[in-house]
Symmetry: C2
Subunit: 172 residues, 2 copies
């Protein structure tokens, strides 16, 4: 089990026990019941590690998620993308500008509604997506292994419930 976890880790050049105990002495204070805090700190950690692994400044946060969503839903609209990714429209516009600059995705006028853009991934984008997905899988290996398959399913169910609730009462 320990060996299995080790295999996903970067080399560690020290002799002491590589497993750090959770710092039980730290009091979360008013954050104890704040869902956003517990989500945010994992997110901070994963994002930073992902960016470090990529080491490419032009790949801004959200590029991988956006590329993956467009690839799985060819012709999707900017509005749907914004909703699925949790960004506002201005951020999604900036994200799509980045994707077009990279040559990974393109906006085309929707044939149904000329005011809307339909989004598509380019062949170069497909290849980049494969690479980014590999990086994401390696990046998450440690936390992936921390949960059993059942626990992951449980977590995803709870997170999907939370995400759906974000849109309660909002106009589309």
């Amino acid at each position: 089990m320990s060996a299995e976890r080790q295999s996903a880790m970067p080399p560690v050049s020290r002799k002491s026990d590589p497993v750090i105990e959770a710092p039980a002495e730290v009091d979360l204070g008013v954050l104890k019941d704040v869902i956003g805090f517990r989500i945010r700190r994992i997110q901070n950690h994963l994002s930073r590690a992902f960016i470090d692994r990529l080491n490419r400044e032009e790949i801004r946060p959200g590029v991988f998620s956006a590329l993956a969503l467009i690839a799985a839903n060819p012709g999707m609209s900017q509005t749907t993308l914004a909703r699925e990714i949790g960004f506002d429209k201005a951020t999604v516009v900036a994200l799509l500008d980045s994707l077009e600059r990279l040559g990974w995705a393109e906006r085309r006028r929707s044939p149904q509604d000329r005011r809307r853009h339909a989004l598509y991934v380019t062949p170069l984008g497909e290849t980049s997506l494969e690479n980014l997905h590999e990086v994401a899988v390696v990046n998450e290996a440690k936390i992936h292994l921390a949960l059993t398959k059942d626990e992951r399913a449980q977590l995803f169910g709870l997170l999907d419930k939370l995400y759906a609730a974000c849109f309660t009462g909002e106009a589309i």
Copy 2:
């Protein structure tokens, strides 16, 4: 149940059903198994809503969490704060600069080790923390109500497991 959820919502000025169905037609593609994606989109949503509610540009992301952690752990070190909040040291330094500029927290030389800083919240910081906590509670009301008490406990247990796993194999 529906009425209970409604009470936590901002006023909605339209007649149609305010509950938007989860967009079942969107395929998550390779993101289906990516933990970071499901966390990130909730985080994106909550952060944006929190910033919109505050409407104060100088309050950068992480200020509330940092302030709350320092308040609950007077004299804590920058290193411990960085670990608890999931930021790297440079980001925590920038965060503490912001907190000092706001007059909400201060670094003092640790009496035990003059090379380390001990962190403290000022009286003004205590008051600001109360306000920020209220905003956070309102901001999360919708997603808070989406889960039962047991489900929240389950979620927190799973997230804490993930967070502890982030540090497996890392030097302190």
